[in-house]
């Protein structure tokens, strides 16, 4: 096996270790938190005998190390447990939520990279001009704004005030089912617009600043000066010669964006009632839904380390120097 293969195996092993550590820490911390998934709401009488019986029935009264071993045993058999806060198995709950989270995060990532790239090119092409100054400050402002706050502002302006967009949720219940295919597609895009824009805009502002710096650095290189000396148009110099050589940081950024998008989605999904993993995680923590919280942490950490791993592989594929060092 070559050096590249060994490197990949080492990375996969490290990724698995990280996921295991996250699962273990989450399991312990959520079980140590006070409360029970079986507590009635505050305005219903508390029947401690019933709560104790349910805790006993589902093994929550056992020592935590016993529960942990049992959990790992079940996990090894693909049994993720029962999500009490949802009234369904954890597997079913995740199967419902993951596609919605991926749709939101994927769209936001596309917006982040696409818009960020375009803005970065404009900023670099107009460096030290008024456009650069204005756009740089605007992107800095958006980058420094908490995503949930931006989400609330967008809801207020575009949903509550202008009524241009719904305030989230994946579809229009009652209407969606009766629409033809393209109507359903339009309804989904309509509902996706504000949450994706919120997550994507904040990311794009950061991406634009990285891309500006990378492109400016490339534009100062000798091969660019040579191209200009040959009389190549400035547009071609930037878009063909310089841009390709300044895209490497974007690959790293794409890998790093995934954790940002997943953590950001916890709040954004709550703001927009988006039924993905983020909102489910918030509800599960509040409901002390041990099995669901642990499973969400496992899936989220697996997504993050996979994203990071893919970014590393792509980076190595794009940059021969990295490949050589790895081998």
């Amino acid at each position: 096996m070559g050096g590249g293969g060994t490197w990949l195996i080492r990375r996969i092993a490290a990724a698995a270790a990280i996921v295991f550590a996250v699962v273990s820490l989450t399991f312990v911390s959520i079980h140590l938190a006070p409360g029970s998934p079986f507590l009635p709401p505050p305005d219903r009488p508390l029947d401690t005998a019933v709560v104790a019986r349910l805790n006993r029935q589902f093994g929550l009264d056992r020592p935590i190390r016993v529960q942990y071993v049992l959990y790992l045993k079940n996990l090894s058999q693909g049994n993720l447990g029962y999500a009490f806060s949802r009234g369904q198995t954890v597997r079913s709950a995740l199967a419902t939520a993951i596609p919605d989270t991926l749709l939101l995060a994927g769209t936001a990532l596309a917006l982040d990279l696409g818009l960020g790239l375009i803005l970065g090119i404009i900023l670099a092409a107009r460096a030290r001009h008024a456009t650069d100054l204005i756009l740089s400050n605007v992107t800095l402002f958006i980058y420094s704004v908490p995503a949930f706050w931006l989400g609330l502002v967008l809801v207020f302006v575009f949903a509550d005030w202008l009524h241009w967009f719904p305030a989230g949720f994946p579809t229009s219940p009652g209407l969606y089912e009766s629409l033809p295919f393209f109507g359903q597609l339009g309804d989904r895009i309509h509902h996706l617009a504000l949450p994706a824009l919120t997550l994507g805009l904040v990311g794009a502002a950061g991406t634009a600043r990285y891309q500006r710096a990378a492109l400016l650095e490339t534009l100062g290189r000798e091969f660019v000066r040579t191209a200009r000396a040959k009389g190549v148009s400035e547009r071609r110099v930037i878009l063909v010669h310089a841009l390709r050589n300044s895209l490497l940081p974007l690959i790293t950024l794409a890998g790093l964006s995934l954790p940002f998008l997943l953590t950001g989605s916890v709040l954004i999904e709550s703001v927009f009632s988006w039924p993905g993993m983020g909102r489910m995680a918030t509800d599960a923590v509040l409901a002390r839904d041990h099995a669901l919280v642990t499973a969400i942490a496992m899936v989220a950490s697996a997504m993050v380390v996979t994203g990071s791993l893919v970014a590393d592989v792509l980076y190595a594929a794009a940059d021969p120097r990295i490949r050589e060092r790895a081998s």
Binding site: P34, P41, R86, P166, G183, H190, P275
Partner: protein, 545 residues
């Protein structure tokens, strides 16, 4: 294309892509009502539901033997409307006989029988099932079957709310579908995810955490519902629900909350704002025993006069108005607006100078930092409340400011709801700011908190006279008038002792689409009568067809 045009283009995308409904329903039996709520049902199996979201859905899926009229009378059996039972009679003072409607069917076609009634009582009373209604059924000795359409309730004693307990606490369950399901598994039973009921609507589909869809049962024996489809949409919080109403994504929201939300709904075309008597009240409960040590009195709240002084120091009307605008009243006790015992109750009025004098008289002298002290103990305590409630946070801040002006130091401690329950059960708290969504009778609401040994008696306050008045109001053959008299006497006693401060009883203000005609909201269960609503043919929109 500039930014605004781009946004408009995305906004108009559904239309551009053919967003016209393919539905073709016309006439009086069309219509879809989308209810928006933040309460996500975990199960729809009635004895184990635990929130109002599940209750609202079950109201359409299941029937009781009889239902409230709009008077919400819980004493005796006047004003009750037949549902599964066509009629009832008292064989003697402790024996109530229900005659079932022979037309009643489960949605799978099986007739509803008296066996289902007896089975339901047994299930609700079974501690293994763990129904929260179990404690309300303790005075019913048995439910037996006289014949397939006659169920007999025998009570252990004669008491004013016997009929209410017999019919209101239980939805009747299908024995043929549930008898084989082990009761230990009812919380997670598959039946709870796709129930078969006997009500005006059939369960159609659900996506947990997102939507629940019911379809009208065109063969419903009490009359075909006009609205074809009911959808419950689960959103992440109250503000998201308001946005759904404003943007027309939903048709009905039971509680608008803040005055700003109410004003916003009023200004929204096509939305009607409907006030109805509130079932909720907010209050501060004192722990009369020491924080974490119930064997000793609390150094501050163990003293009745100090509790009274603290009550006196608060301008509750101003606080209530500040937070809820004109949509709230200060209750004369731990009671919501819909309990008819508001008049002629003695309460403690606002008098901050009097409060300061009372505290001084009890030995609490002002210290150098402006906070009172007594025997080296500062007049300081912590108030806990759930961190997700903006109204409770607002009350906490206003109380803190007013108490500070009379030399009282109050620490604000918002907490996670689970943590609050934990602290309440273990007695590790000074005072808790709570909201209580009551059921229709003080007999269970007050008894749940304030009577000695009650399941939620976290204050450890006791008063024999109060307990006696509650017993008088809830037992024997008292009339409605006598019962209210006893309740008023009980409220006078609890007000005089001040184990809590009753802060606000907000109006419930619902927002409902103006498309809906024949709108009736029953205060105890806002959407219970949705099966009697209709949307006239000339008001149908795309999602109705």
């Amino acid at each position: 294309m500039n930014f605004r045009v781009s946004l408009l283009a995305i906004g108009a995308l559904p239309l551009a892509l053919g967003c016209s409904s393919s539905g073709s329903c016309k006439g009086d039996y069309c219509g879809t009502v989308v209810f928006v709520t933040a309460n996500n049902p975990k199960t729809l199996l009635p004895p184990v539901i635990d929130n109002t979201g599940a209750r609202d859905i079950d109201e359409q899926l299941f029937l009781r033997l009889a239902d409230f009229g709009m008077t919400i009378n819980t004493v005796g059996d006047s004003g009750w409307i037949p549902r599964l039972a066509t009629r009832w009679e008292w064989d003697d003072a402790k024996t109530l006989v229900f005659h079932l409607d022979p037309r009643a069917r489960w949605h799978d076609g099986v007739p509803v029988t008296a066996n289902d009634v007896a089975f339901s009582f047994d299930a609700y009373r079974d501690p293994v099932v763990g129904s929260s209604a179990r404690n309300s059924l303790t005075k019913i000795a048995s439910v037996t079957v006289r014949d397939s359409l006659t169920a007999v309730f025998r009570f252990k004693e004669q008491y004013p709310t016997a009929f209410y307990d017999a019919v209101y606490q239980m939805w009747i369950l299908p024995q043929h579908l549930l008898a084989q399901v082990p009761r230990t598994d009812w919380l997670t039973a598959a039946y709870g995810q796709h129930p078969v009921g006997d009500g005006p609507y059939r369960f159609t589909s659900m996506t947990p955490g997102q939507t629940y869809v019911l379809t009208a049962d065109s063969t419903f024996f009490l009359g075909r519902p006009h609205i074809r489809k009911l959808i419950w949409k689960i959103v992440s919080g109250p503000q998201a629900a308001v946005s759904d109403i404003v943007t027309g994504q939903a048709d009905a929201l039971d509680f608008l909350g803040s005055p700003a939300n109410i004003d916003q709904a009023k200004k929204t075309p096509g939305v009607s704002v409907v006030p109805y008597p509130g079932s909720n009240y907010m209050y501060l409960e004192f722990n009369t025993r020491a924080n974490g040590d119930s064997s000793r009195p609390h150094p501050v709240f163990g003293d009745r006069e100090v509790r009274r002084a603290l009550t006196m120091a608060l301008d509750r009307q101003a606080m209530s108005t500040n937070i809820f605008g004109p949509y709230s009243k200060v209750p004369p006790g731990p009671i919501p607006q819909w309990w008819p015992i508001w008049d002629s109750v003695r309460t403690i009025g606002f008098d901050s100078a009097g409060a300061a004098r009372m505290l001084a008289a009890r030995g609490w002298r002002l210290g150098a930092d402006g906070i009172r002290m007594k025997d080296s103990v500062r007049l300081s305590f912590e108030v806990i409340f759930t961190s997700t409630s903006a109204a409770r946070m607002a009350f906490a801040r206003l109380m803190q400011a007013q108490w500070k002006s009379v030399g009282v130091d109050m620490q604000i401690q918002p907490l996670d709801q689970n943590l609050i329950r934990d602290r309440l059960v273990s007695g590790k708290f000074d005072a808790v700011l709570q909201g209580f969504n009551s059921d229709p009778t003080p007999a269970s609401g007050i008894a749940q908190h304030w009577v000695r040994g009650a399941p939620d008696d976290f204050s450890h306050w006791t008063n024999d006279d109060f307990d006696r008045m509650v017993t008088e109001a809830t037992s024997g053959t008292v009339s409605v008038k006598q019962s209210r008299g006893y309740w008023r006497a009980a409220l006078n006693i609890i007000n005089a002792d001040a184990p809590g401060i009753w802060l606000a009883a907000p109006d419930n203000v619902a927002a409902v689409s103006s498309r809906i005609a024949d709108l009736t909201i029953r205060p105890d269960s806002y959407w219970a009568l949705a099966w009697t609503w209709r949307i006239p043919a000339d008001r149908l929109i795309d999602r109705d067809r």
